[in-house]
């Protein structure tokens, strides 16, 4: 059976209506799932003996700006068994910025979630160490949000005093 059909069938059997959308584009398979089911899905994908998505390659966010459900969290997971990368998307409701962490399922997600928190302000509930990563601690903005100006907000980042 084709790998993509196998994955979609298995996920649909397990999650039914929580699987909101299946998109295949340019050879990539993307599953959109209810954001409350992200942990369950992660555990399933990792532990299913036929799928074995053992590696989380990436976690990131999308800020859609004015869209009704503003934020989307995106995961890329990889199966050595199938040699296949799967994309999972979770739309967050309204202006919601919270989602459950998967850092205990895939250890590599720890830093990726910190990165996503730093740049998008998405809070991963249950993350062991949710701190700033690129931006200085205490910085109050999230630079990859659409409402953050490209040139930054003047004086929001401290510089050492000037020497004359």
């Amino acid at each position: 059976m084709d790998i993509k059909n196998l994955i979609v069938d298995k996920v649909r059997n397990q999650f039914g209506d929580s699987l909101i959308e299946v998109v295949e584009f340019a050879g990539d398979l993307s599953l959109t799932i209810d954001s409350k089911k992200n942990r369950e899905l992660s555990e399933f994908l990792k532990s299913d003996p036929e799928l074995q998505f053992l590696m989380c390659k990436d976690v990131t966010g999308i800020d859609w700006g004015t869209r009704k459900n503003r934020f989307t969290v995106v995961y890329h997971v990889y199966s050595f068994q199938l040699n296949f990368t799967l994309r999972i998307k979770c739309n967050l409701e309204g202006e919601e910025t919270k989602i459950d962490t998967v850092a205990d399922i895939w250890l590599s997600a720890n830093w990726y979630e910190r990165e996503t928190y730093d740049m998008y302000g998405i809070i991963f509930k249950g993350h062991p160490d949710l701190r700033r990563m690129y931006m200085p601690e205490g910085f109050e903005y999230h630079p990859l949000r659409k409402d953050f100006p490209v040139l930054g907000i003047p004086n929001s980042l401290p510089l050492p005093n000037k020497i004359d």
Partner: protein, 172 residues
């Protein structure tokens, strides 16, 4: 006939202290290689046998600021990194000079964004700006010669009564 053969006895020369000190200083400018990104590779190339920064007495690049008197800031300085650059500058003994190497260091370069400092003159006193992205090693040597020129015109007492105010970092 060499100089040694001519000087069979102890001799003496006359000069001014300023001239001797300035000559000594300019002939042994020890750089602090503050290489942050791609420009640093050109800075490293300046130390190789082809460009040979040793001709100017400046081959002593040690990764400690304690013995350096020239900071070559080579690379893209972000706001987060600025604190570190400044701390290392503060640890260098006086008198000291700064070369801003490359477009990023001098003006933010192509990184017109929230994270990159748009010119290190916002927190460091810069003596020479070097154009280019990256500047060729010759261009860095040219900047070094400009620094030497500046030093050779200095007087030792210029640094004697200098007041070092404003040395505390803005935070952390």
């Amino acid at each position: 006939m060499g100089l040694e053969a001519k000087l069979t006895q102890d001799g003496f020369i006359t000069s001014t202290l300023d001239a001797v000190i300035a000559w000594a200083r300019k002939s042994s400018v020890w750089p602090m290689p503050m290489g942050i990104s791609c420009c640093a590779i050109e800075m490293i190339a300046a130390a190789d046998p082809k460009y040979d920064i040793a001709r100017f007495g400046s081959e002593v690049m040690r990764f400690t600021p304690r013995q350096c008197d020239l900071m070559i800031v080579a690379g893209t300085v972000t706001y987060k990194m600025a604190q570190v650059v400044r701390r290392i500058y503060d640890q260098m003994p006086e008198p000291k000079w700064v070369i801003a190497m490359g477009a990023c260091t001098s003006s933010g370069g192509m990184y017109r964004s929230y994270s990159v400092v748009q010119g290190i003159d916002q927190f460091l006193p810069v003596d020479v700006y070097t154009a280019g992205c990256p500047p060729r090693p010759e261009n860095l040597l040219n900047a070094l010669m400009a620094i030497q020129d500046k030093i050779s015109k200095s007087k030792a007492r210029d640094f004697q009564d200098k007041l070092y105010t404003n040395l505390e970092l803005s935070n952390n």
